[in-house]
Symmetry: C2
Subunit: 500 residues, 2 copies
């Protein structure tokens, strides 16, 4: 087999896999948005069958030989092909010892775990989920043990699935630094006499009006509706189903317009990252390489760094007034700005403000490490959860539903949560560079997202699928990864807002 033949073989297989995944994504999208209740089970079966067909393609000896040849000869390949060879190698390290049957067995554990989590959350009773959580931990350990040359620390393996190159050693330092600075600052904010108006935040507004605003916001950000759409769902997400099909979802709450407004901007950020990535990523089948932390950095950049800035509120204040004329009748631009930046320790991560959000993540990080280390009894977890909420945020859940059961993530394993916090740290770093090169405030005020997005495309999006995160952020900023930019950003913004 020549290198060229190997490349063609591998790309042919990946094209077929992507076709299966495309269908699976559509099924999942349908299930999360409109699927009738009684049709869900069948959809799950069809998705599992198609995923398994895709997985089986990796067991073709000719494909394996081609993938191995490409990896051996990777230095002879042009960059995009070399990245492809490396990313297949990285994936194969994890899956080569797993048969389609075993893969199916694992997926049944995760499916059951998801159902148990749903039921436990509805019943607000962690004990209904505890056995599944223990089973998930076991499966995760087995999956790690089956990898080729696994790291001695299983949790580091899992972290790497979402954020290549990230370790608990790095995160421990980063998160300790966050706690040191954020917890005392939060106490100061809470002690501040500054009063932020909040009565209008719970005023009622129709779904239709919220949809209109959501579409205006996405358009203003530069989201391309010819290559995507906005749908509604229970738990908002963005899905790049195909190169020209990047879908955004949201949820409208009649008395929480801020919630949908910022979820749309957040998902719009994810969507821009997908829509504005290089076409070469698709030609070379590396479009799935970007990490969760990179993705969260972009979504939270648009949502918070830009979206909760004075400049952005200046831009969208007229749109909000136009869509919600009654709600906004007596609300000034300044009041809207302060309202969307209200700091208030709360129990639920997805409703947390920009300032306290990181503390929610740290709690999850500390607990999931303990779980994977076997350093805790499953039945003690709700108590530990509640103690940490009291210690870091000063609040205590009334029950497991608003406590340890609030998030779906652990039903499918560990290692994801830290990427949310890393995203903030990455974007604070590249925001500092962007400000040196662009008049960001002016551009946002004027709605010049074309210029912002062009910078993001060139510096942030372009190389994301070809770099590990720590290399990527260093290339963008010229500096080594640090949480300090983020912590400085928070301190500056909120000291000013709360007149500390």
């Amino acid at each position: 087999m020549t290198l060229q033949e190997a490349l063609e073989k591998v790309k042919g297989t990946l094209s077929q896999q992507e076709t299966y995944w495309h269908a699976v994504s559509l099924i999942n999208f349908d299930r999360e948005t409109i699927c009738p209740k009684d049709a869900m089970e069948r959809q799950g079966e069809t998705a599992a069958f198609l995923s398994n067909q895709a997985f089986r393609l990796e067991k073709d000896p000719e494909y394996i030989a081609a993938a191995e040849l490409l990896y051996e000869q990777r230095e002879a390949l042009p960059e995009f092909d070399r990245v492809l060879a490396e990313s297949i190698h990285r994936d194969r390290r994890k899956t080569k010892n797993i048969s389609p049957e075993l893969d199916h067995e694992f997926s049944l554990v995760y499916q059951k775990s998801y159902m148990d989590w749903l039921n436990a959350k509805q019943a607000a009773d962690f004990s209904l989920f505890a056995p599944s959580l223990a089973a998930v931990r076991k499966v995760q350990e087995r999956q790690v043990a089956l990898r080729e040359n696994p790291l001695p620390d299983a949790y580091n393996e899992l972290l790497g699935d979402y954020e290549a190159g990230m370790t608990r050693e790095t995160l421990d330092v980063v998160f300790d630094r966050c706690k040191e600075r954020l917890i005392p600052l939060l106490k100061k904010i809470q002690a501040s006499p500054k009063k932020i108006r909040r009565d209008f935040l719970s005023r009622e507004v129709t779904d239709d009006a919220q949809r209109k605003l959501a579409e205006k916001l996405l358009s203003a950000m530069g989201y391309n509706f010819d290559r995507g759409l906005l749908a509604t769902t229970e738990h908002p997400f963005t899905d790049g189903l195909a190169q020209n099909d990047v879908r955004v979802t949201t949820h409208f709450y009649p008395t929480q317009f801020i919630s949908s407004m910022y979820s749309v901007i957040h998902e719009g950020g994810h969507a821009l990252f997908e829509q504005l990535q290089p076409a070469e990523n698709f030609e070379h089948h590396i479009q799935y390489n970007k990490t969760s932390g990179m993705h969260e950095s972009v979504s939270r950049f648009y949502e918070n760094v830009l979206g909760r800035s004075e400049a952005f509120i200046h831009l969208v204040y007229p749109l909000v007034c136009e869509c919600f004329p009654e709600l906004m009748a007596d609300v000034s631009e300044r009041e809207l700005y302060e309202g969307v930046n209200l700091v208030e320790p709360s129990l639920v991560r997805t409703e947390a403000d920009e300032f306290t959000y990181t503390l929610h993540i740290i709690i999850r990080y500390e607990i999931e490490k303990m779980i994977m280390d076997g350093a805790v009894k499953t039945e003690d977890l709700p108590r530990i959860w509640n103690e940490k909420y009291q210690e870091y945020l000063g609040v205590t859940p009334a029950d497991d539903r608003e406590g340890i059961l609030q998030d779906v993530h652990w039903s499918s394993g560990f290692g994801y949560f830290p990427t949310y916090a890393l995203g903030n740290m990455y974007n604070a770093m590249y925001y500092n560079r962007m400000k040196q090169e662009l008049p960001v405030e002016e551009l946002v005020k004027e709605g010049r997202f074309d210029a912002i997005n062009a910078w993001m495309t060139e510096h942030v999006f372009r190389t994301a699928d070809r770099r590990e995160p720590l290399v990527w952020i260093k290339e963008i900023t010229g500096r080594t990864f640090t949480p300090d930019d983020f912590l400085d950003y928070l301190e500056e913004k909120y000291s000013k807002l709360y007149e500390l």
Copy 2:
């Protein structure tokens, strides 16, 4: 191979095929309802790939051996399995000589033809579609010639694809009889001094209000929303994607509420047929056996026979008033009844009233026979179309868009149109029996669709997938198929309405 093994092999293969088709249906549903513009092409590719995977399963020698064994030994099988063996045999007669590659080649012709039709319709220029129409005719001839023991008359083969056992010999007699009775009666209706109020029919109403009415109508009919949903699309359709997933679509026009209202009832009829069929159909993989004519009989039974009756209008008048209070402010129940039954020769089939509808079908039937017989030059078709419209309906299209290009059907072949008219004839026959056994008017007035649907389930739905249409209608009614019940029904209803 034992019979039992053969049965298991065949059912296993069909289960896999249905899984592929399930995914393809979801893709198609997405494309017809929400798919972003630039994502359509990729969706088409994925659907084609999955369809081809399903088609390839039929080429497995073990499957073929199993299918042949079952057919040979079919008399030894229980009824449902025998029906399965026969329907596989019927399908294989058509596909056994067609390779996956040739199947793909044919599908490209149909895809191109569809695009050419779209463009031609937009340009209102038949000449842009004519070459594709000729190509479709050639492909249809080739497909028929490749069948095992094809009928000498290719058009009869195509008819049989949609309506097993139906022939042009039967249809010629049936449709001549329709013309004899309908054309003179239409002239009388047009000459009637009876004035039907129509001003309110074009009053404006919001999409939201129309959606509310549509949902109320479907619920009233007994449609189960746990096993389906209502979506919007350009050209309404119903799709049974899976046993518990039967989706209805409609289109809202702001100034034609009757159009969406009756399209919803029509599609709701299709959906009831799918939702209320025996579970055994799915277990035995014969759920696709019901013919287009059977399906249209049910949809048009709910739409017209029940839906445009005085009893039904009595039932839904309050609902319509509740959803459209301004539109209905000065409209009486009687005026609504007369409005939904207005007879008016028109150019477009899908907007035709119940009375003239059959004439639209006859025109298409006569022309598609000529095409398949090679009895006409392609370029003469628009002229022939227009002449027939003038002769049967007294109207002439201004251009090809509202003339010969209005329907998509011929871009994918011939033989479908007659099933629409046959549906009316079947349902008029079983309606006559239903009336002998049930107090239909009373039940409809009281909204007792449970009783109506139970009768339909027992007599109409239960056996549809196990009988050819002419056997099925004879079993239901005890009488041989005839168009007379339908023609009598029309004559009685419209003589009364137009006071002839």
